[in-house]
Symmetry: C2
Subunit: 219 residues, 2 copies
């Protein structure tokens, strides 16, 4: 089982990486929105919740995991290693203000995905050395979701991608118009929040992004 | 080592249990306020933080633990099992909106303290059966700290204390005037927030409470 998980960890498709945000949900549940996004083509999901009790976060995580498991899509939990453990998520994503990769590895084990956020080449190399399975690098464009994010140019993004040996996902203000220029840096995928979550038709938004990503990857 | 920890777990002094709150800190650090409270007689500390990044919470926990370790006082972390693990705290305290005792035990192991909040006899018995090491029961009096807390009468508190075999700490609006009536229910200690943290002289407030607790225990 562990070997199988380790194998699976190497075969993760980072192409279209959705970070959840419940701001634009309206009356839908988060799990329903995630399902629509997966039907549109999302290949990986990060559940991000900031204003919830631990128990409510876990309940949301379990509801989303029921969907991601059904579609065979990896689910990672933002920040909360204990929630990732409790819902048996595929892993955790650690931002700059979160706990260390070391602690995540101790609690979750070697077979889980531990991703980390980097904004500089130095950070990227350090996080790779600490054992990150992939990096989220950004913000490549100004973003309304995280207004305090550091800016990373596409040149810096390309340099980080060539310097590390783990998958790199670009994040920050990426929409359909910017997909091609981002993918030209050689990154393994794009992480989006509002470009999918803020759209009325989540499925169509994900589908359009996926088409553009496929076109970029063919070049 | 594990046996030693298990032994220590049985010898914990729950008499004067401080729950931290940074609202009244002013210019002091939380670690300094905790040190004053311990000097006054506090026998156990629960670190409670709600509005902080995981990394800042961990840094605070490490600073407080430096103090509690120096005085040989147990430190438990409110809610966050991952933070408790990361700082190697003596344990965790789980409220009704937090993760389960099962998850805490899985992550932290058998030798750590796992406490839980109960507001009814049914909850108390269920949490004891799930493996809680102690119970925080309340709110026994109206409290400004947690305005949504369920009310537990002193009669109910006494009934819970007789029904379970683990230590019971009363919590909720307990101050110097109420210590004696609370201790008469047979509980193992009182947990206080504002009765220590909101006082100008934290050391003196803790010391006064400890005198009253000792007087109650002598009777």
């Amino acid at each position: 089982m562990e070997e199988e998980d380790l194998m699976q960890k190497k075969n993760i498709d980072y192409t279209l990486y959705l970070v959840t945000d419940r701001r634009w949900l309206g009356k839908r549940s988060l799990a329903d929105a995630v399902e629509e996004a997966i039907e549109g083509g999302v290949t990986m999901v990060q559940l991000r919740e900031k204003e919830m009790s631990s128990r409510a976060f876990l309940e949301t995580a379990l509801a989303v995991k029921e969907v991601t498991d059904r579609y065979g899509i990896p689910l990672v939990i933002n920040d909360r290693i204990d929630i990732a453990y409790a819902c048996n998520a595929d892993g955790v994503h650690l931002g700059a203000d979160d706990l260390s990769i070391f602690v995540a590895r101790e609690i979750l084990g070697a077979d889980k995905i531990v991703g980390a956020s980097a904004a500089t080449l130095e950070e990227a190399l350090a996080l790779e050395a600490e054992g990150a399975d992939y990096l989220g690098v950004g913000a490549v464009f100004p973003t309304g979701t995280k207004s305090d994010a550091d800016h990373v140019t596409l040149e810096q993004l390309a340099r980080i991608k060539s310097a590390v040996h783990i998958p790199v996902v670009a994040i920050g203000g990426i929409d359909a118009e910017k997909v091609d220029s981002v993918m030209k840096t050689g990154v393994d995928g794009v992480a989006v929040v509002s470009a999918i979550m803020a759209r009325k038709d989540v499925r169509a938004a994900a589908s359009r992004l996926m088409e553009l990503l496929k076109a970029s990857l063919r070049r």
